[in-house]
């Protein structure tokens, strides 16, 4: 009979080990360089969106905070990187770090308020903060360019890899950053802190009864998610050399929510899968009037909620369990 502690550690080890499919997946992310070299700019956008969705997963999928204003941090990161490049220096890696810190500071500040609320008040507050920041950026046009966005700067290269219209450096840069952040997210999920977040999601009321300082945990998670979203925003600025007001918009907050739900929240890869499907589909149907694109998204949302509540990954996982 296996010893007690080997059963115990196997249980946890099993979840931490890299599954072969994961390795295959990440190897496949290198394929666009070879198979679809004309789509590398799109691939770069997908990687950035995937990172943004991953950051939302940390608070939504793992801690259970429903946020309709996550774009606030994406925008803060984007604008910080843009302002830095426009007025100071255009080296992207240091810009990335500073943008991450800026988004983290804003996230940390807001987290003190956000973690005190639940249900409708929480949804409204996150939406409200997003709207406030959007309006502020709109009004402060001397600084941000207002509705026209931040223009007139260029980020020429990262580590001497030039950004050009083929997008090779852009995709390599975005993919590398995505992978590093993914590794960090994976580490967090499989750590004691990650377990605590899942505890909060499963039963927020029980957590204090086992001695858990829930609000402190949530503030931390919210800050980490803000940092990651800020990094994604900065990536967008670096790879496109513009910042638009749209990066702070409610539309972007809603889109990333749809993407995460589509892929499946709380499964680490849900945001990435969702981003791939959503962005590829949008690119293929880019000829259609935006109205009608949103019709299909609306229909998809209704279908997902009624029939596939755990997103695509959840559906696959359920099928897999049934076939055993």
């Amino acid at each position: 009979m296996a010893s007690a502690s080997s059963i115990a550690s196997t249980h946890f080890h099993a979840k931490v080990r890299w599954h072969p499919l994961e390795i295959v997946f990440w190897l496949c992310t290198l394929l666009p360089f070879v198979l679809t070299p004309s789509y590398l700019s799109l691939a770069s956008q997908i990687a950035i969106t995937a990172l943004f969705a991953l950051s939302l997963d940390l608070i939504l999928g793992y801690a259970g905070i429903v946020s309709l204003g996550h774009a606030a941090f994406f925008g803060v990161g984007a604008y910080t990187a843009g302002l830095l490049a426009k007025h100071y220096w255009s080296e992207p890696l240091s810009g990335l770090v500073i943008a991450a810190v800026a988004a983290g500071v804003v996230g940390y500040a807001l987290s003190h308020i956000v973690v005190r609320f639940r249900h409708l008040a929480l949804i409204m507050l996150t939406m409200g903060f997003g709207l406030l920041l959007h309006e502020a950026a709109n009004s402060a046009s001397a600084l941000t360019g207002g509705a026209d966005g931040l223009q007139g700067f260029r980020v020429p290269a990262v580590l001497s890899f030039k950004f050009d219209m083929f997008g090779r450096s852009a995709y390599a840069y975005s993919l590398a950053v995505l992978f590093l952040c993914f590794l960090a997210a994976r580490r967090i999920i499989h750590s004691p802190f990650g377990l605590a977040l899942r505890g909060i999601r499963e039963n927020a009321l029980r957590m204090p009864a086992i001695g858990a300082p829930s609000r402190a945990h949530l503030r931390k998670a919210y800050t980490i998610a803000a940092v990651m979203a800020g990094i994604a925003g900065a990536l967008l600025t670096h790879t496109t050399s513009t910042v638009s007001l749209e990066t702070l918009s409610f539309g972007r907050s809603a889109d990333v929510l749809v993407i995460l739900i589509l892929g499946g929240a709380g499964r680490l890869y849900g945001g990435i899968i969702g981003a791939v499907i959503y962005m590829v589909a949008r690119d293929q149907f880019s000829g259609i009037n935006p109205q009608y694109w949103y019709f299909w998204i609306g229909l998809l949302l209704v279908m997902v909620v009624m029939f596939l509540p755990n997103g695509i990954l959840g559906g696959i996982s359920a099928l897999y369990k049934k076939s055993k």
Binding site: H11, H13, S191, R198, I210, P213
Partner: protein, 247 residues
């Protein structure tokens, strides 16, 4: 020797509904007391007040002599006051091992750690496993798949993982069929004698089996308290349960 847990002049009302009036309770170390009373008497509310889930209008609560009245719920747990819930408050999609390990990690202060993998925390994992084994709870299935009796045991396991000095059990056998409750009560009987226990219970057999003292609550007030045989003979208690005609 100081009291393990005590309250002084504890009061709480919701509008015109008084749920706790002038509650003065004293639990010496190592005792097992039962809290009984009709439905709506305020027993669970009292536990909520003591654990910090509900704030009192006035009064004080002392844990091992320390005033904990203004402390947050999780702080009180870390000082040694734990409870179980009458209706299961578990983590549906975590396994029992994950849940109890989490409780141990929180106690040891490791839960803020986001850079070391869980398998590296062999100590807490083994401790959690040992607790589950002593209560005969299977460790690796999802909590929501466990039979109800084992879920009630998991409630207790979670509370024990916090290494409490005082344990509040809210109807530990609620909803558990008679044949499964034997395991439960064996587990309770085997709890360390150093632990101070206050439990809410409706089954008088259980009360008389375990309690060295019974506290009777009615309408938010403590009606009477004393050793079991005294309470059994007390006319007021009979009246409360059976009505004046039968007293």
């Amino acid at each position: 020797m100081e009291l393990a847990l005590s309250t002084r002049n504890l009061n709480r009302r919701f509008g015109s509904l008084v749920v706790a009036q002038d509650i003065a309770l004293e639990l010496p170390q190592g005792v097992r007391y039962a809290l009984i009373g009709p439905n709506g008497a305020g027993k669970t509310t009292l536990m909520n007040l003591m654990t910090g889930m509900l704030a009192p209008d006035s009064g004080q609560i002392f844990l091992a002599g320390e005033d904990i009245t203004s402390l947050r719920a999780d702080t009180r747990v870390r000082k040694g006051l734990a409870r179980t819930f009458q209706i299961n408050a578990l983590f549906p999609r975590l396994s029992p091992l994950e849940a109890v390990t989490l409780a141990v990690l929180e106690r040891e202060g490791h839960a803020h750690n986001w850079w070391r993998g869980l398998p590296r925390f062999a100590g807490p994992i083994d401790e959690a496993h040992a607790i589950l084994q002593s209560l005969k709870i299977p460790p690796t299935r999802e909590t929501r798949e466990l039979p109800y009796g084992q879920q009630r045991l998991l409630e207790i396991a979670l509370a024990l993982a916090t290494r409490p000095r005082v344990l509040l059990l809210d109807e530990p056998a609620a909803g558990v069929p008679k044949d499964e409750s034997a395991v439960l009560f064996d587990a309770i009987a085997n709890l360390s004698r150093e632990l101070t226990i206050l439990f809410i219970e409706h089954d008088m057999d259980v009360v008389f089996r375990f309690a060295s003292r019974i506290i009777v609550m009615v309408g938010g007030r403590i009606l009477v308290q004393g050793p079991p045989d005294e309470i059994a003979r007390d006319e007021r208690v009979r009246e409360v349960y059976l009505g004046k005609a039968h007293a």
